[in-house]
Structure formats: C-alpha cells, structure tokens
C-alpha cells in the first residue's frame, strides 16, 4: 500500500512537472525520497510485479445465452447418446453371436 502510494505520488509529481515545468531537482528529490523509503518499508518485500489478478466482475447476462456453450452441451449429449446406442447394439450382436455358436 505504502509502496503503491509512493509510486502514485512520484507519478503525480512527474506528470505535474511535465505539465508545469517544475525544476528537475524537485523531481529528483521525490524519487530519491521514494528510493530511501523503499529501504525502510516492509511493503516492498511483497513484489506485486510478478502477479496480477485477472478477476473481473459483471452480472451474468441472462437475456443473451452463450450459444456456443449451449451448442456444445447439446452436441456432446447427442454424441454420447449415439455412443450408447452403438455400444448397446454391439453388445446385443456379440451376445447373439455367442448364443448362436454355443
């Protein structure tokens, strides 16, 4: 938190200096201060550069169904029913063969 706030502060100063033409020494002072406080702060030990949260939140849209998902679900169901009937007919055929021979 502290580190983020420091970063924001330095960004704010930097943009302000770009806009208003503050002396570069002030800018250098701010960044030096930030580097110094980084040494003291324990928050820098948590390095947030390696990970980012991808969580986004939005209400589920119930009026527009996800047709791809629906199609995939029905397609998979049809495939599995087909598999089942095929397997059953194979089993029946095998049984008839065995019964016929014995």
């Amino acid at each position: 938190m502290n580190q983020a706030f420091q970063a924001l502060k330095s960004i704010a100063v930097y943009s302000h200096s770009q806009a208003g033409g503050i002396k570069s020494s002030t800018e250098a002072a701010v960044s030096a201060k930030m580097t110094f406080s980084r040494l003291l702060s324990r928050a820098v030990l948590i390095n947030r550069a390696g990970s980012r949260s991808a969580f986004t939140s939005s209400k589920t849209d119930t009026t527009n169904p996800n047709w791809l998902q629906v199609g995939l679900a029905f397609g998979t169901s049809a495939f599995i029913w087909g598999l089942l009937f095929k397997q059953h007919s194979t089993d029946v055929h095998e049984y008839e063969v065995k019964k016929g021979l014995q």
Binding site: L84, V92, Y95, Q102
Partner: protein, 110 residues
C-alpha cells in the same frame, strides 16, 4: 471392452433402460437443478442444456455400471457353483421326512 472381460461377453447385455441408468440420470438432472438453484436461477426452466447433458452422462455411466454389475454377479455365481461341484460332500442335503412319518398316528376323540 474395459468394463467386461472376455468371458463376460456371453452374458445378455442390459437394456438401454435399466435401473442404474434411471437413477444416475436422475441424479445428474437433480445436480443440474441444484446448481441452478444455488446460483439463484429458476431450477427447472433455466439451463436446459446443462440438465440434458448431465442426465445423459448419468444414463451412459449407468448403462456401463449395470453391465459391470451383471458381470460381477455372474462371476460370483459361477465361482460358487464350481466350488459346490468341486466339494459336493460339504453340501449334502439331509433326508427329508414328511410330517406323516414323524408324528404319531392321529385318533380323533369325538
């Protein structure tokens, strides 16, 4: 197949409609409805594709489970009968007497 080995092929296959299929497809349907209910959706009317898919999966698994069950019981029966044939002296039936031979003769006193 993977479910039933070679010696199980002589068994009659279960019908498409069988107890395990019905139960497991019911379970799949119910779990889809439960999922709907837990996400605050109308349980029966929403996500019909999910309900159908889960019921189908349950039916499929139930069919193969019934096949495996039939094979297992047949194998156990076969092993038991082979054992009985192997050691018949352990399975002798006592001679059965009818009641007429045991009971004293009946003289009605009227």
């Amino acid at each position: 197949m993977g479910i039933v080995p070679e010696d199980g092929k002589a068994l009659p296959p279960p019908g498409i409609v069988n107890r395990n299929s019905l139960w497991l497809s019911g379970m799949g349907w119910f779990s889809a409805m439960l999922h709907n209910a837990m996400n605050h959706r109308p349980p029966l009317k929403s996500g019909v594709h999910r309900q159908f898919l889960l019921a189908t999966l349950g039916w499929f698994i139930g069919y193969h489970l019934t096949k495996h069950e039939n094979y297992t019981y047949a194998r156990l029966d076969r092993d038991m009968n082979e054992y009985v044939k192997l050691y018949p002296e352990r399975f002798e039936t006592k001679e059965k007497k009818t009641l007429a031979e045991i009971v004293e003769p009946f003289h009605p006193v009227r």
